[in-house]
Amino acid sequence: MPSPKYTALANITLGSTTSTVTFGSIPSTYRDLYIVIDALGSGGADDVVMQINGDTTYSNYIRTLITGNGTSPDWASYSGANANTVKLTYYGSVISAERANIQVHVLDYSATNKHKTYLARANRAGSGVDANVSRWVNTSAITSVLLKPAGSSFATGSTFTLYGVK
């Protein structure tokens, strides 16, 4: 018997400038998480950070990306004690002047026999497009996700939606 694919677990629209957005108490009853962000930053271009279960240790994350800014394609790969390991964006960063759209697929987020691999697409029309793959080197089920700009805040009107995917 087919089951509805998506269940909206949380939907946040910021009524004021906010430094962090957290999806907490995530139930373990879905297969994947899908996060959709449509956000403005509070100042200049700033990358969006995603941290899992309160884990702020950079070396627990690994990330590789490709990106394009309309001039040339580029790549990057981060591991170890590097603050870029926890980011989702490169040219698709948030800024006060225009919205960035970011989508994150976290597959098998509650599996306790797997590290957590997640795929992100980040897009901002006046800047560029990114595709990321990241791995949280931990077999714990994901119960919370924190999102924040690396050095600024999200602006009023930014929206964040968390879906459970069956």
Partner: protein, 198 residues
């Protein structure tokens, strides 16, 4: 107070409906559905989805989500996707990917499967590749079939944007997934099939 009875013959324009919809069209509360899923309890060489009944149920597009790795000792692996068991040279694909040193573009034509790189090999315990594969208009008999995929792995770190085509106007009735290097998928690998009504 009098008691009155209401009979069918006294109702003007009486119509009997077989259900509570009363002639109105059924509206799905959701447009996207999980159809089936396979989580391997032990290693397996292939996973097959039978989609032959989905078009008649109103589904138009398919999505396969995978968290998978193979038994190989290498860190890399790729899936080979075959439609309707077609093993002819009827597939083509392109990819744009980033490795740890550059951005690379690659392609394959006249292939015997859609080869989509991005799942993980077995080199690192706990590390599974992730894939979201979309197959659009899977049942159309007026089009060749097009697929796109966002895939990635972190061991031999790679992020892939893949696209591919099956050069056939036949409706897709089955989807076979194997490892492109003829290895087996490891236990714990998961393959989920979703369908969308557009």
């Amino acid at each position: 107070m009098g008691v009155y009875s209401l009979t069918k013959s006294s109702i003007k324009n009486w119509v009997k409906y077989p259900n509570m919809m009363a002639g109105s069209a059924y509206i799905d509360p959701a447009s996207d559905w999980l159809i089936t899923e396979t989580i391997l309890g032990s290693s397996a060489a292939s996973v097959t989805f039978d989609v032959s009944a989905l078009a008649a149920q109103g589904y138009k597009h398919l999505q396969i989500r995978m968290a998978a790795k193979t038994l190989g000792t290498d860190p890399y692996a790729q899936v080979a996707i075959r439609f309707n068991g077609d093993s002819g040279t009827n597939y083509s694909n392109h990819s744009l990917y980033g490795n740890e040193t550059s951005v690379v573009s690659s392609n394959g034509i006249s292939g015997t499967s859609l080869y989509f790189d991005g799942v993980a090999g077995g080199a690192t315990s706990g590390a599974y590749g992730a894939a979201v594969v979309d197959i659009l208009d899977f049942a159309s008999t007026a089009k060749n079939k097009t697929a796109r995929a966002l895939m990635g792995r972190i061991n031999q770190n790679r992020i892939f944007l893949n696209s591919g085509a099956w050069l056939s106007t036949s409706a897709i009735t089955s989807i076979g997934i194997t490892d492109g290097y003829s290895l087996s998928f490891a236990a714990g690998s998961r393959f989920s099939l979703y369908a969308s009504k557009g």
